[in-house]
Symmetry: C2
Subunit: 501 residues, 2 copies
Amino acid sequence: MITGNIIGYETLESQNHLSGVNPLTQSDLDGAFSIATQVEIDLALEKAVLAFPVYRKWPGTKRADFMDLIAQYILELGDELVIRAMAETGLAEARILSERGRTTGQLKMFANAVRQTTWEEPSIDLAQPDRQPLPKADIRKHLVPLGPVVVFTASNFPLAYSTAGGDVASALATGCPVIVKAHESHPGTNALVAEAVQRAAKDSGAPDGVFSTLYGYGPELGQALVKDPRVKAIGFTGSYGAGRAIMNAAALRPEPIPVYAEMGSLNPVLITKSALDNKAVMIGEQLGASMTMGAGQFCTKPGLLMVEKSDHFDHFYQALEAKIRTVAPTPMLNARIHSNFMRSLSQLSQELGLVDLNEDGSHLIKPAIAIVSGDEFINHAQWHHEVFGPFAIIIKCNGADQMVTILELLKGQLTTTIWSEPYDPGNDILIEAMEQVSGRIVWNGVPTGVEVCDSMMHGGPFPATSHPHFGAVGFSSLKRWTRPVAYQNFPGQYLPGSLKR
Amino acid sequence: MITGNIIGYETLESQNHLSGVNPLTQSDLDGAFSIATQVEIDLALEKAVLAFPVYRKWPGTKRADFMDLIAQYILELGDELVIRAMAETGLAEARILSERGRTTGQLKMFANAVRQTTWEEPSIDLAQPDRQPLPKADIRKHLVPLGPVVVFTASNFPLAYSTAGGDVASALATGCPVIVKAHESHPGTNALVAEAVQRAAKDSGAPDGVFSTLYGYGPELGQALVKDPRVKAIGFTGSYGAGRAIMNAAALRPEPIPVYAEMGSLNPVLITKSALDNKAVMIGEQLGASMTMGAGQFCTKPGLLMVEKSDHFDHFYQALEAKIRTVAPTPMLNARIHSNFMRSLSQLSQELGLVDLNEDGSHLIKPAIAIVSGDEFINHAQWHHEVFGPFAIIIKCNGADQMVTILELLKGQLTTTIWSEPYDPGNDILIEAMEQVSGRIVWNGVPTGVEVCDSMMHGGPFPATSHPHFGAVGFSSLKRWTRPVAYQNFPGQYLPGSLKR
């Protein structure tokens, strides 16, 4: 395993190091990974700047072959990758395998997208030389890549939103070189995947510097990268605090750059009386499974469950509680996430007195729930923030109007969900409020499980994401790394392929 | 003429006032326009917030009819509007008439766009209940409006980028209420157009508050609007300083919001030896006309003319100089723009010693040009900024490589232009560099005259515009006021029209 910073085709060791930690045992894993200094940062950026004009001119088919090769080499890592990712994250084998499948699937999806030119959104307005009062010029437009991109990787997706994950794959697909800030929670997983990317780049004849990865921490390495004038866009998946620090630094640069940050969500679920009256047990079971999946460490975990008054509430609650009691205690992704979760529960416990405290002294945690009234929730702003982990607040609301009031109080969300029957008269105002606060709205289902398809929107009003127009999943996520360029009256020989005709 | 702040269907007078000034005579025009206080700001925003849920649900056809009515009522203002706009801007009648045509044309274009649903980018992925290993949900996506939008109007487009101009029309078309910060240079023009919009809103049965306009200055009114949590997006056309102040304030809000600012451009023109050898006189004449059109007060005015060495340089220069000498002295748009222009010329004159000084003591100005070498230009960063007005620097470059060096030194541009012959070997590196720094590239033409069509891109890397993915002209400018929402497994009765099938 390479433990240095992988900078194009070079590996640079440095003085200080960080290690992977097994969250189950809290013991260090093997490998001392070099913390990048300004020397490594400069080299990675300089190489990316030099690689860009070459790489952006590669035909889409050549970038696609490169990405297919990355997918192949990731699979060829075999058990070594799976075992290391499990050890660094505490996630189960099945989850790591499914994430690896998603990662290679994304690489191939973006590869296939850029084999065609549709993703460039080519648009052609032919000249009208005889138009009165003025002739019309020939104008054609398509999307071009922005330049070197920095990707901050996600703790909760060690493969699918990390070293060769969605942000990296979409940026590489458009023609942008990428510098990955490795997540300090899974440096070994990063090293293995990065080596696969480096090998694919070499075997594809890609310019030195099309891909680099650096180790370090947000306040030092992260801020240095965000502020560097050679960086032209940022991708980020993580906490609100870290995301906002990146947004602010990027906005105040001499040249502000786009930041595409995904920063968490409460994913409110609205459960109407008509739904409880008809399927209370099913709703409880499905939400119990959804909120505890992956130890509740998904950006789409349902964290607020608003219920209308119904005689069937107890059936719902009992089914939910029974479901979460079946969940085996699990470690969280890392020590910081673990202690944040325990601190949140402890505080809520003092305030509410009814939360399972998880205080068995091990590094394992169990799911927890709390129940409050709508009025109580409205009056406690400290409960309006995401608790990352297997926890949800059940809010007993006195009607659809109060649910709307609560949705309007909350900030932007990735998702909102409604459980209802089509005849319920409250649906209209609830659905309208859901549209207003979130990027995806779900009918009679769970928000976890993000389908990767053209119509998916994985983003939403701030702070779910930094810019409400862009999402991080699927085909449309390519747009984030591009801008349009119009060509006026250019001879065919100078037009890009997608604009010739 | 209404001189109060037009707030939905109300008019509010306040204590302090501002007046329009005739830039030719520097005398006040009639009408004392009320400077908005926090009372008027709050009322306009509260009304916009209440209007939004009603207006966004209007069918596109109804919004389209409203916008057609605005266009009709603007035309019905007749000579009163033309005379007032001429008096407040010093622009000629022909220009005001053509701008009025563009304004009504834009309103009708956006109206026609939202009569269909294509602009919503509807996308439908049907369910695959039998898919293995997991069924696929029904996912559908379209664009929805963001909410109340604030538009800062442009000094140089009193109609087409002002009260009912491109930003306002595109925002109204998507379903966003708009609050217009009237430009202090043309309050009377604003009042007349705003009255037409108000009348069209009333006659269309639009909710009170779908449109308001307030008078005041950037540091007070502008900042108050940008920082208000009820505002969800900003449109701006103007100077770098004002645009950057808005960008920073919006980025540092508790809830940052998108700012779509267009902040000026040098619009470099590259003239190769092959072009000079073949058509030096034509190039000089066309660029002379382009840089002086509208007293050089266009965002696409060519401000840097880079020329390769050629025996025909003198023919080019003489044709250019002869052309700009034919331009009659004209007033600039307002006193501030006039004094900024004179100060820039005076400073350049001290540095260069060869600029026409325009010191006849009147409020009229004449075009001016300067000539420097490529090396001199590179070493004088103070010349790398836009001079707003009929001025251009001719840079004698020692080859295509130096032109590329200069393009890379400059910041983002709306346009770059190349004059060349197809056989010129330098074209490739020049065109590539042009793509890298600008949103539109022009072959053997002039950058002024922005065609309004689907393929137009009127935007570019910072500081040409605040976000490189969006442009302010044409169909695609609608996107700025929207975000995607995905619907998962929703019954047909709750799907928006564009997503039913």
